[in-house]
Subunit: 341 residues, 2 copies
Amino acid sequence: METIASFGEFALITRLAQGITTHAERTDIALGIGDDCAVLDLGSELLLLATTDSLVEGVHFILDTTTPEQVGRKALAVNLSDIAAMGGIPRYALVSLILPANTSLAVLDGVYAGLGQEAERYTTALVGGNIASAGTQLVIDITLLGTIERGHVLTRSGARPGDVLCVTGTLGASAAGLQTLLQPDHPYAAQALARVRMCHCTPQPRVQEGRVLSRFGPAVVTAMLDISDGLSGDLAHLCACSHVGVRLESVHLPLSPELYAIAQCVLHDPIDWALHGGEDYELLFTVAPEYVQLVVDAVQTATGTPVTSIGIICAASDGMTLVDQEGEAAPLSVKSWDHLR
Amino acid sequence: METIASFGEFALITRLAQGITTHAERTDIALGIGDDCAVLDLGSELLLLATTDSLVEGVHFILDTTTPEQVGRKALAVNLSDIAAMGGIPRYALVSLILPANTSLAVLDGVYAGLGQEAERYTTALVGGNIASAGTQLVIDITLLGTIERGHVLTRSGARPGDVLCVTGTLGASAAGLQTLLQPDHPYAAQALARVRMCHCTPQPRVQEGRVLSRFGPAVVTAMLDISDGLSGDLAHLCACSHVGVRLESVHLPLSPELYAIAQCVLHDPIDWALHGGEDYELLFTVAPEYVQLVVDAVQTATGTPVTSIGIICAASDGMTLVDQEGEAAPLSVKSWDHLR
């Protein structure tokens, strides 16, 4: 009997997506399944954004190493990041909890406190919810709704050869943070340890940065998504949706000093974490070449968040290339975490 | 340690709701948590409705007695019923699946086929989704979005003393259907068996009926909700939200011949199933007395679904009363299924 575990996550999503009616005839659906959010058109000046994502105990977090408040914050943050990835404003959350019968009230209260704090920070109201009791793993499943001005939606599919590939913040810290949770007994430098764990346990969704980028519109910022699976995996999504290739410059990847410190401590290649680590929740976007400086300056001035150019979009036939520290070009290997295996 | 099971579902929902910021200052939230749907105002002629509900294997269904297609249909139907309960049109669904690793592809395909069929029947597009693997119980968690014309939202809170309490269809069949699944070896009459099982496994959300009712607006149809917990429990919600009491006439409860047949077979009181059974997904609503005939005729003419007057709204101080078959009045006992115990 073929099971979902033997089939694999990405094959499964492709299979299910193929079976879903696309409703190309419906003018109230600007964008269906396949981007960070659906884009829905109810006829007002603002378009509606909708996304859903869940955190599962034992898969995405364990309560030994993460506080209930952090779990609540992160459950909302991963959804906020999807709204940010379209350039939108988050607005309304619906929260569905699946709770093992022995879940303590203290854990539940903590999760809700974290959710509430994160909602407050990002102008999001909890407008609906559901509780069910089942199993042995806590599941927090959130649907987040947002809005965006007509003509300002940034999708995955608009990148063109010659566009410059940019990323906010730094890469790899979340993976390094996870590493320190899995190997807690290593003698890490205290400051680096605190920093990478914070990146892993309470990622900062780039909502404000996404807003600045969406103001330029898709003629300038031609494509965007957030990095959840890892730079290589999400870059592959961007290239597939835009029908382009990319030439990524390893030497330009933005790595933090804390990442180097942790990598040195456990003898891991920091570039590997930056390329394939996942859960950084930074924005990855492409910019028409003549506007790069303008866009980079605008984001940095408005938000204080650094933006780095890390590569160039090329034709699909040129594929995905990684230029390493020595200037050697080779096909970029794409690795993404499969949650079903 | 106090756990969610010891605390109980309804106490828990009240506790969590109290901790949630209500955002009374936000004009874009017409109605937050506490009704069948949230009502959101993005400035267009149509208001947005949002609801979330999940089906959990072992709690809401077992795959021994329900096909994967039925599970998929019902998972969407319970959400469609919440949109119907506000008088809205369903539009967009986001589907989140929590799958045990050993879930067969056949089960998953069946669930999706059922979802897709039900979506087609009710003009609903699947616009988002998520898959995670965890635990040993299949969970289907759906957020459904709909729309409704401004000024036509029917809430739980508008019933006034003197209004007539009405219900669509018949009551108790879903509970009878569940009974036949739990005691499969009884010699049930074949036709009655098929009918009550269908009511339980593939309930028909009253979307079209809700649309007819919302056209009258809240000055005529003063309050509405759908019966998911059971008539007594959901009537208690309506009375609490509207600050009213009710006098319910047992003799007027609409019971189907099939319900009587199953009840007789297992020696169960059919009135008990009708009052407390749950999962009927009929619409329960109150009508200003001068409009009752008009409203009842309109629904029956447009949809073919019978509507029955089953009681009268009274002052909150008069409480909730049940008049039994012999004309004796006594306080209505309220029983609702607690999913956490």
